[in-house]
Symmetry: D2
Subunit: 259 residues, 4 copies
């Protein structure tokens, strides 16, 4: 069993991006940009609507307050500033879920904040506090093996470990840096194979050839390009053909706990 998630609602004002209407039906969890690095109130409403229509879980995808940099530039916010910034964004997206008769299911930080929370325990704790104080039942999504996953567990949140079907892994289980060869898998077959390997066997083949354990509850799909969308379709189909159940995080976590 595994959840599929994607980052959506990344339009802003007159600027459209991505292909949410095509991507969202392929996943079980939608991470919706909250207006700080992308998204605006109208975009959030529309994206919540698409997710709800397809029965996809609605999540908040908070980022740094850097619209121009799309939240991808590191910013030296203090842990307290991070906590406030994340809480604000969760509240905003949760309001649209509530107005649509749905509830917020999860929170996954975006971009440079996600990367910082993978390594910086103080930042990770700040995010976990914001999520917990809003709703201790929300699922916190972080990179498998990251400080964020530890922070979520420590405060008592349900935690989902994320892995990537289209990224290369180092032998220590970390993601291959984007400026090195092998950072991105090159063929749809390799991507589907890695998705199945993670979901069924809890491991990947590192760029250096070794078998590495990667325990994950959710896989991230991208839809920024027509090619990415085709790969996303292939991953979904490939998982199902391999007999793996693609289901909501909440369900996946519940069953995992039973086992």
């Amino acid at each position: 069993m595994i959840d599929l998630n994607c980052d959506v609602g990344e339009a802003y004002g007159a600027w459209v991006v991505g292909s949410d209407a095509a991507l969202i039906p392929l996943v079980t969890s939608a991470n919706i940009a909250c207006g700080f690095h992308a998204g605006d109130p109208g975009v959030i409403r529309a994206t919540v609507g698409i997710a709800r229509e397809h029965g996809v879980a609605i999540g908040a995808h908070p980022g740094y307050p850097d619209l121009q940099g799309f939240g991808r530039r590191a910013m030296a916010l203090t842990p307290s500033e991070i906590e406030d910034t994340v809480l604000y964004q969760i509240g905003a997206v949760a309001a649209f879920a509530r107005a649509a008769g749905a509830t917020l299911a999860h929170v996954k930080p975006h971009g440079a904040l996600y990367n910082r929370a993978a390594r910086d325990r103080q930042a990770a704790d700040a995010i976990a506090r914001a999520v917990f104080r809003f709703d201790p039942g929300l699922i916190l999504v972080g990179l498998a093996g990251s400080a964020l996953v530890e922070a979520g567990k420590a405060i008592g949140l349900p935690v989902a470990r994320e892995a990537f079907a289209d990224r290369g892994y180092e032998v220590d289980g970390s993601l291959r840096a984007r400026d090195l060869p092998g950072a991105l898998l090159q063929s749809v077959d390799a991507v589907v194979a890695q998705a199945i390997s993670i979901a069924r066997d809890g491991c990947v083949q590192a760029v250096t050839g070794e078998r590495v354990s990667v325990e994950a509850d959710t896989l991230c799909l991208h839809g920024d390009t027509p090619g990415a969308l085709a790969w996303a379709r292939a991953v979904r189909a490939g998982l199902e053909q391999a007999g793996i159940t693609v289901c909501h995080l909440a369900e996946a976590l519940t069953r995992r706990r039973r086992i």
Copy 2:
């Protein structure tokens, strides 16, 4: 019985403004800026904390997305954009209330949005929809006699009518325009007298001398200047000396309905 409200949390980043810590204990309802025309996540957290400490009701004070203009410049948002913009801001402030173990009690639009909602029924309906969809139990605060009060009633929200102790009124019950003589009362005695007159008798003396009916559930106090703060203290004391109970909107509305 009457509620006293004030607009607070209007700092932004390094810029401090107002005297929230002195003003909030004087009122029963705090309207907290939501980050679009003023306020930021840290300011919202701090202001919610002060309100909670003093047992003051926490409200959202949404405005146009115009930080530079402090939400005081009219902006041609469509009704749909207004609804989304208000819902977003309500959600953000509500998250801080929730994280502090409190609940959001009311919503009062700010500045140019407040003025538009007083006259433009479509805009008023959009605001009322946002409030209702977030929580049909939230109290909507609007200018006494305004389109916003009508819109709130029409959708089924509890509605509070706001009046001003320090503003001149026209014979039709509207506020004297700010560029005309008599727009602002000139002495603390006149302000206290008008506050008592509204709260006890449901009327004011218009700038042209006539007695005008102004039925209000809440009076707005300002604290932007040291003088304003002294006036706010005088109004609070004057009301209590006149035997008028200053209480939360929720209580005032409940008792009014019983009568």
Copy 3:
């Protein structure tokens, strides 16, 4: 003789829009968004570079400070605020022209500011003052017959009158409102015919059939869609086949004055 202009540099951060690289070579004047309604420092640099490479005149395209609304929503700025806002944006784009070894040639306001400046003489005067104070040799571009053209003449700026090949005209020479039938011409042939009619004969056929005088120095081409780009190519080719010289505004205005 006529100038062709287009609005470009309308990307922002990670959001790409338009097809500047294809559109700019078709025109003689590029109106570059200045960062308030669209554009950012990197986008401005890149767009100035493309214009310079193709010998296209570099202009500033200032708008309201409303990124989310793309400068298309009316905002109640005072004339003084408009003057400061426009001067700031002109300076910013002029810096990139200067750094590229070029000079700013013209200024054309954007969106809701353009529309207001067509009717509101105080706003038009404020824009004209900002342009004149920066450089009295800059060409001010405004809708033919508008208050902005009058304001520019009054202060002593060279002024260019803009017309539209793809918009319907009323019998009084104003543009057909966008929500009425006939607001947009429907075929490329009609657009090319109107472009030639404006450039050669100084007139158009109104939506109601009458011949209306439209004296223009520049025609605005759009490139937002693949279709628009094809139409832009057709207009350029059609004008040249009709023996009309497409040239820089500065040249067109100089020759006009000689005649």
Copy 4:
């Protein structure tokens, strides 16, 4: 001979800060915030006007695009993004100088960008390129001994070295970190003495007691608090009583070169 500079124009919209009208007459160089970390078009116009009225040199004070953080939070902009961001801000402030019949005299980066440019040569080079490409005659102001001073020299800009009368220095000539004891001098006498020592002798007493060389062309005065303003007055008076000429950077640099 020494220049005195101060950071001004740090209001934004409705938020006032500092005491520019009192501080500017005490200095010879005004560093004006450019709208990214503080300042807006109206504030820039007003501040340029005050500087011009008092014969104070007008400079641009560009910062990171982080209004909420007042440009004090590090942001991972690339060197190319820094260059574009600084060029944009220089152009904006230069436009107001030009419209007021003055010229821009210098550029000093702000906050976290200033600190980064003191240590990070690539960032420093990017800033120097932006300044040089706008106008190779502009004076670049950086921390004495910093990478920014080196970058300015390398590209061929006139460079001014900045020191601080109210900050403690380490034995290596660097500023004492703000979280350590001794980071800020505690008495007005000590501040005046350090100002004279830097201006006349080119040295300070380090927090550890040693005599350290600090060669500076300009001293930074602060005016954020009433106390700071009194200190600024004392420094100006103390320097003049000690026979030191307080003059514009341009003059100080010219004479230095002659010697």
